[in-house]
């Protein structure tokens, strides 16, 4: 398939999900997302996740030693440990256990790792009956579908759909309708399977090296039953699940359910050190007292299967290693606007779903499986705030995108964009990525020839070519480049504040403010000057945000280095760098850490401020707020930028606007759905608009809408009409 067909196929798949699974997925993930916020509201989430992260870092660093330790512990307890190299190895071992026990049936509690291994299929082909007992897993086993969410595998199905499925498949005497009916039916059906089963299988959320304890986080009680009812228990877990000590479980016990479902604690945090002392339950001998049936742990057989399947290679990989810290709570999926709208059947690979799926898929199944959904991560970073172990999930997505770019085969259209695009990337890069990754060059060119360039870009032939070559959706208005850039305006005017003022500000002429959203730049200059700052708008190169968003890491790094060099003399002279575009402010303070030497990053990050963060600081230090325009009670609906929120910077905008007398209502949506180039891409346009509509609906009755990010402004412009930046409300020269 060529790229244009590829994009159409992807668009069709997303369109299908938007009209089928989207509604239920949205309701369920949205609920878990808001419950997580509620659960952590009065709780020191950050302190605990730092602690949890440190434990994982240490455990992965010491992994070989911990595997030896846990093997020793489990053997002391009377169990067996098997370290499986890959899926085939693990599946064969389990099959052998089944054969050795003369087993026919196996009951399972939820385990994503066995999904990764395709264990059910393997055992099925070998003639064994395998039953999923987690109700969500049971639903998708009956439906013969793949999990749509790490925590709730059947999250995309409503009660009505499950009822239809069960009624058709099981033909119960009385038709099932409600969630209560379905739960009762599944419990009875699966209860019988558990009582008959020869072997019980669980996963493990954590495995404790010093004791051989496995920790299982569940709500239904099925893992408890699977583990203790049959006399044989097999636990399958990735090697990354090992922690050194029982004490190391403590932060996880407090954080995992909050992160996953917003519960303070799970219903059951099971800490089993198998073989356990509970008597086995033989329902084939219904009238023999359980305590007379067995001698407890002596009659029990326990196997811990630790799975490598690519994890040791991930451990050696500086960029993918972080993935191994994942505790599989699904918070990255729940906090993701794109995921909320399409779910894991688009936003996922062979096994894993959500933002972290890219890391897992690349590590355990290979780059191709990561390719399926990698682009659905727009880098908005809302998952970074949500992740209980602080994984930089957008960075993993960027790195994998970069690796995928480098794997691409050259295309027939390369010649069209290569002349325009002075990047550092290999030939064969998708022209769509190349176009959006080099948007700075286009902006310069477009601005120099505006308005002709804008007219030309808007013509039908031009839009058709853009769609065919670069997948720019024709339904999306293109940004209009301005010939009168912010820099020209600033150079041509007399500064209102003497150059030797107490505060010297370098207003960074980000691509969007300089070439497109020029008015917000002018407002920013006037606001700063009215507060006594001397402002200059020098020529500083593009930030690198655009290429980074396309996975063009080398190009982004080169641009970061150029920015660093240009900013250095200003920063060394004590000037403050103020940025209007939040995605660039975030870049300087977050992603540059990945792109620049530490000292250069520290210098930039330490001297950079988002515009209203800076205004807030200047006002707090005694500047006269009355120099700014007043709100006089005017209602304003504000959508902060996703990356701005992740850096906890949205509060400054809210505070300054409120102090100036605006009645501010802030959206609670994670992301506007535009996300830079994402909403322009033909394969994602409809998803982008679906996410954007949700935001627009929140603002349906708004008198005035402001947004901090260029993308958010573009999205809201398209859906609601003209949107301004908050700094424009404060502009003393505004009409």
């Amino acid at each position: 398939m060529n790229r244009s067909d590829d994009r159409q196929a992807k668009a069709a798949h997303i369109r299908h999900l938007l009209s089928t699974e989207s509604e239920t997925i949205h309701e369920n993930t949205g609920h878990m997302n808001s419950e997580r916020y509620r659960a952590i509201e009065n709780f020191d989430y950050d302190a605990l996740r730092d602690e949890a992260r440190a434990i994982k870092e240490d455990a992965i660093a010491r992994l070989p030693e911990l595997i030896d330790r846990v093997t020793e512990s489990v053997e002391e307890n009377g169990g067996t440990v098997y370290v499986a190299d890959d899926a085939e190895d693990a599946n064969s071992y389990v099959e052998q256990v089944m054969a050795d026990r003369d087993a026919e049936t196996l009951v399972k509690s939820k385990s994503m790792t066995t999904e990764e291994l395709d264990l059910n299929e393997h055992l099925g082909e070998a003639g064994y009956d395998v039953f999923e007992t987690d109700l969500g897993e049971f639903v998708i086993q009956v439906a013969e579908e793949a999990p749509s969410h790490i925590v709730g595998p059947g999250l995309h199905k409503s009660s009505e759909e499950i009822a239809e499925l069960f009624n058709a498949r099981f033909e119960p005497d009385e038709e099932l309708a409600t969630a209560q009916d379905l739960t009762r039916f599944a419990r009875d059906y699966l209860g019988e399977r558990i009582r008959e089963a020869d072997v019980g299988m669980t996963g493990a959320n954590f495995v404790v090296a010093e004791s051989g304890t496995i920790a299982l986080v569940t709500n239904e009680g099925n893992a408890r039953k699977c583990a203790v009812t049959p006399d044989t228990h097999v636990a399958v877990a990735g090697v990354e699940k090992i922690v050194p000590t029982v004490a190391d479980l403590q932060p996880f016990s407090q954080i995992i359910a909050k992160a996953a479902t917003g519960q303070d604690v799970p219903q059951y945090f099971s800490l089993l050190t198998p073989p356990v002392d509970s008597p086995t339950l033989d329902f084939d001998e219904p009238d023999v007292p359980i305590t007379a049936q067995s001698g407890g742990s002596d009659d029990r057989d326990f196997h811990l299967v630790l799975v490598d399947n690519g994890r040791f290679a991930m451990r050696e990989d500086d960029e993918l290693r972080e993935t191994l810290y994942c505790i599989r709570c699904g918070a990255c999926a729940n906090s993701c606007s794109n995921f909320q709208h399409v779910g894991g059947h688009a936003f996922g690979g062979e096994t894993y779903t959500g933002g972290i799926a890219t890391g897992w898929e690349a590590g355990v199944h290979g780059l191709d499986s990561a390719d399926e959904s990698n682009d659905l991560c727009t880098g908005c970073t809302r998952c970074v705030d949500a992740c209980p172990v602080n994984i930089d999930i957008p960075w993993i997505n960027t790195v994998v995108r970069d690796r995928l770019n480098r794997d691409e085969m050259p295309s027939e259209f390369d010649f069209l964009v290569e002349g325009l695009t002075p990047d550092e990337e290999p030939g064969g890069l998708d022209p769509q990525k190349r176009l959006f990754g080099n948007v700075d060059t286009l902006a310069k060119l477009g601005s120099a020839t505006a308005p002709v360039s804008n007219w030309l870009a808007g013509t039908r032939p031009a839009r058709l070519l853009m769609e065919r070559v670069a997948g720019v959706d024709p339904r999306r208005d293109l940004p209009a480049f301005r010939r009168d850039t912010l820099r020209k305006w600033a150079a041509d005017r007399e500064p209102a504040t003497p150059a030797d003022a107490d505060r010297e500000v370098l207003l960074y002429p980000d691509l969007y403010t300089n070439y497109v959203q020029v008015e917000r730049g002018k407002a920013a200059v006037r606001v700063l000057e009215s507060l006594g700052c001397a402002v200059q708008v020098p020529d500083i190169p593009a930030s690198g945000r655009a290429p980074l968003s396309q996975g063009m890491v080398s190009t982004a790094r080169q641009q970061a280095e150029a920015v660093s060099e240009s900013l250095a003399p200003h920063l060394d002279a004590g000037r403050d760098v103020v940025v209007v575009e939040p995605s660039d402010a975030a870049l300087f303070r977050r992603e540059y850490e990945r792109l620049l030497p530490e000292s250069e990053f520290d210098r930039i990050a330490g001297g950079t401020y988002e515009i209203l963060e800076y205004v807030y600081g200047v006002l707090e230090n005694g500047a006269d707020a009355d120099a700014l325009a007043a709100g006089d009670g005017q209602s304003v609906s504000y959508h902060s930028h996703c990356q701005q929120r992740t850096m906890d910077l949205a509060v400054y905008t809210e505070a300054v606007l409120s102090d100036r007398g605006f009645a501010v209502q802030t959206s609670d949506q994670e992301c506007c759905g535009m996300a830079g180039s994402f909403g322009y891409k033909s394969q994602y346009y409809e998803l982008s608009v679906s996410v954007g509509r949700e935001l627009a609906d929140q603002f349906a009755d708004a008198e005035r809408v402001v947004a901090s990010g260029t993308s958010c402004m573009e999205q809201l412009d398209d859906l609601l009409g003209p949107t301004r930046h908050p700094v424009e409300l404060l502009d003393p020269a505004a009409e």
Binding site: E160, S211, S278
Partner: protein
């Protein structure tokens, strides 16, 4: 500040458990009121508290399966979340607490620890030294997998905790 005991009781209610506070003398009555027939149990191992004869403490699988309630002791309890720690024992505390539709947990006042930190002070030796097993259970079993929250899935749909005070506070 509320005592651990009242915080425990409040947390139990928040997590949809029923709770009765009683004394050694009042225990038999409190238990009788909490039990549903037929009942199974695991020995409380407490010289001051015993189970009535009609509670089957050496249950068969058939009795376990048919039980309306199952009464057990606990290893300890955690005030902050209303959690009871269910140990794996040869007497069958785990299956009795799990298979019955209604789990009646008997908690002595001094078994209630304040918070997660204190719980791990108990769990450390129980797991690492004794190599025991403990289920930290909070509320009835539940699922959202069928499209709405339903209590009572593979585990009990009701949890009733009887808290036994050590001394009678008033005559």
């Amino acid at each position: 500040m509320a005592t651990s005991l009242t915080r425990f009781e409040d947390a139990l209610v928040d997590h949809d458990c029923e709770v009765t506070r009683t004394t050694v003398d009042g225990f038999d009555g409190a238990l009788a009121a909490a039990l549903r027939e037929p009942a199974v149990g695991a020995s409380l191992g407490d010289p001051e508290l015993s189970l009535p004869a009609d509670v089957q403490t050496v249950p068969t699988p058939a009795q376990l399966q048919a039980a309306a309630s199952g009464v057990t002791p606990v290893a300890f309890a955690v005030a902050d979340h209303g959690t009871v720690a269910i140990p794996s024992t040869a007497s069958g505390v785990e299956p009795v607490s799990l298979y019955s539709d209604r789990h009646v947990a008997v908690v002595r006042e001094e078994q209630v620890v304040p918070d997660t930190g204190a719980a791990f002070d108990e769990l450390g030796p129980a797991l690492a030294e004794d190599r025991g097993s403990v289920v930290m259970a909070t509320g009835p079993s539940a699922t959202g997998d069928m499209g709405a929250l339903v209590q009572g899935v593979h585990g009990p749909s009701e949890v009733h905790v009887i808290v036994v005070e050590s001394e009678v506070s008033e005559p």
